[in-house]
């Protein structure tokens, strides 16, 4: 899940707000020009913005391996995947812009730390198997959240999700494909695959955020249909889907308590270390500093380019007017 712990604003009880809620309950899509409660708008900007930032920062851990990909084909697939993530960022910033906030404003808020991105991208990618684990687990967890969001109430967000989901399943497959090759490879490759699973398992479970079954914020977001399931529901679904995949690979999920529970029809599993999660959110994850520094550097280094291209476009426009 790329939007974690998004604080929801509360609804007001005006007549408009009630009519608005009725539209949502009836399954209607809300479009940018429609009336909407200020809280709905604010919450959506936070959520879509955080999601967009996650796509952008998410380029970095995988970008870390593009220049070391083992074959030309793997390099092309990984590059295409990371390119998709940039595209996802673009769709989402566009969706956010329909709510009255510009991409540059959102970017500034990411860069100075006012807005967050998903905790998962603050973990390092240390071996090639991590490219497998990220696709398999991280994109896999993202899909869990994004598939239901295709039905979200806000039209532009829903449409962005539909486009994004088409590409995410390819991402997950290419990740799993890397894992299959590694797990069936040399002893070193298999060890690399297990090592990647060991490091990415709990951070992937954290992606869904802490339990929110008692959270007022989540209840409001769910009423507005900008959150479709509780964090625990999605986490359970993810574990149930992923454990058999790990077994198929011949890898061991690093959780000794993991056990099928016949009664609930799902696995019992250990919670991740939520103290670690809150540290990562606060900026103390293994790569927070590097990730933000990399984005800041790209933005600062790129200033002269953005300014230059803008200045040129203005010169052109003036020349065009003069010629008319």
């Amino acid at each position: 899940m790329y939007a974690q712990m998004v604080k929801s604003e509360s609804a007001d009880d005006s007549a408009e707000a009630k009519a608005f809620q009725e539209r949502i309950d009836a399954g209607e899509k809300i479009e940018p020009k429609d009336w909407m409660p200020a809280g709905y708008r604010k919450t959506l900007i936070r959520q879509i913005g955080q999601h967009a930032h996650s796509e952008i920062v998410g380029q970095l851990p995988e970008g870390n391996w593009i220049t070391r990909a083992p074959t030309l084909e793997r390099k092309a697939i990984l590059l295409a995947k990371v390119q998709d993530e940039a595209g996802h960022g673009l769709y989402l910033y566009c969706a956010a812009e329909t709510l009255g906030v510009s991409r540059d404003e959102l970017t500034e808020m990411l860069l100075d730390g006012r807005m967050k991105y998903s905790s998962i991208f603050n973990y390092p990618t240390l071996t090639w198997a991590d490219m497998g684990a990220v696709g398999w687990l991280v994109d896999g967890a993202a899909i869990m959240n994004q598939v239901p969001l295709q039905r979200t109430s806000f039209g532009p967000y829903s449409r962005a999700m539909i486009r994004i989901c088409k590409e995410e399943s390819f991402h997950q497959r290419q990740g799993y494909d890397i894992m299959m090759k590694m797990a069936a490879g040399t002893p070193e490759q298999k060890a690399m695959a297990q090592n990647a699973l060991n490091r990415f398992w709990y951070p992937s479970l954290m992606m869904f955020g802490p339990s929110d079954k008692d959270s007022i914020h989540s209840t409001q977001s769910m009423a507005w249909k900008i959150k479709m399931n509780t964090n625990d529901e999605l986490r359970q679904k993810f574990v149930d889907q992923t454990v058999p995949q790990a077994e198929y690979l011949g890898l061991t999920v690093p959780d000794e308590t993991l056990k099928w529970n016949e009664e609930k029809g799902g696995y019992d599993f250990a919670e991740p270390d939520w103290d670690e999660f809150f540290e990562v959110i606060k900026g103390n994850g293994p790569c927070n500093t590097e990730r933000l520094a990399a984005r800041n550097k790209a933005w600062d280094d790129g200033k002269w380019v953005r300014d230059g291209l803008l200045a040129h476009a203005e010169k052109r426009a003036i020349k065009k007017v003069a010629a008319e």
Binding site: A69, E73, A76, I178, D307
Partner: protein, 255 residues
């Protein structure tokens, strides 16, 4: 098809494939770090096209060589002195302007060569070129527009682009220097005589640079040695330590 020495044909194909391999790699180094999101996407596009072309050129090179080497073997398991790319493409990215200037100078040459290669007497080469030329038409349009936009942008962007041009212009000549391999290819109708492409290149590039308000530096000096493999720059070796690392560290593994 005209008869041609297979070792020379192999050499020629490595030159084509190594140019795209090395430049594709350089461009891919930008991943996630471009000045705007649209450029991240566009740079990745260019890199992807170049990697795809590499697979075709080096794949064919391996077939012609007949020793069972795949495109990946050629890319990942040769050392510096076996690479046949021109020095221009192995030059470091520098700032975004330097990257785009390098791209434009190469794209303009690449387009001219591929256009001619699409008429090659060798059907396999003609087919690869016909596919690649469509991609490169787009590359040169984009890199040319960017050179214009930044050259004729702010005074800072202008200065940076002029600096990039001054730095990279001495690498242009190598793309047109011919040797026995080129002569043999030209004679067999496989590839164009590179010297005949220079005038059109100068017109094309000169036009864009003028619009960009940039000045081509004086002097005819040209760095050479990449295309023949005699003497690469120090940069290439460092690139290979990254690009080839996994294949070298875990020989024989499949990925």
């Amino acid at each position: 098809m005209a008869q041609v020495d297979q070792a020379q044909l192999f050499e020629f194909l490595c030159r084509m494939g190594d140019n795209t391999l090395v430049l594709g790699h350089r461009v891919s180094e930008w991943c996630g770090l471009a000045p705007v999101l649209e450029e991240d996407i566009a740079l990745a596009n260019t890199a992807l096209d170049l990697i795809g072309q590499t697979q075709m050129w080096l794949g064919l090179a391996g077939e012609v060589e007949g020793k069972g080497r795949s495109a990946d073997d050629l890319a990942m398991l040769r050392d510096v002195w076996d690479f046949r790319n021109v020095l221009l493409v192995e030059q470091p990215n520098g700032d975004f302007g330097q990257t785009m200037m390098r791209q434009f100078l190469f794209d303009a040459w690449h387009l001219a060569v591929l256009t001619a290669l699409a008429e090659s007497s060798n059907d396999r080469i003609a087919a690869i070129a016909a596919k690649a030329v469509k991609e490169v038409q787009y590359h040169v349009e984009r890199s040319g527009d960017t050179v214009i936009g930044l050259g004729d942008g702010t005074s800072e962007s202008h200065q940076r682009m002029q600096k990039a041009l001054n730095l990279l212009w001495p690498y242009v000549g190598e793309m047109f220097v011919t040797d026995a391999v080129d002569d043999a290819m030209a004679k067999a109708g496989i590839a164009p005589d590179l010297a005949t492409l220079r005038a059109a290149f100068d017109t094309h590039v000169g036009g864009i640079l003028t619009e960009a308000t940039l000045t081509i530096p004086d002097g005819k000096f040209t760095h050479k040695g990449g295309k023949t493999g005699f003497q690469h720059s120090e940069h290439l070796g460092h690139m290979l330590t990254q690009m080839q690392w996994l294949q070298r560290a875990y020989p024989g593994a499949t990925w």
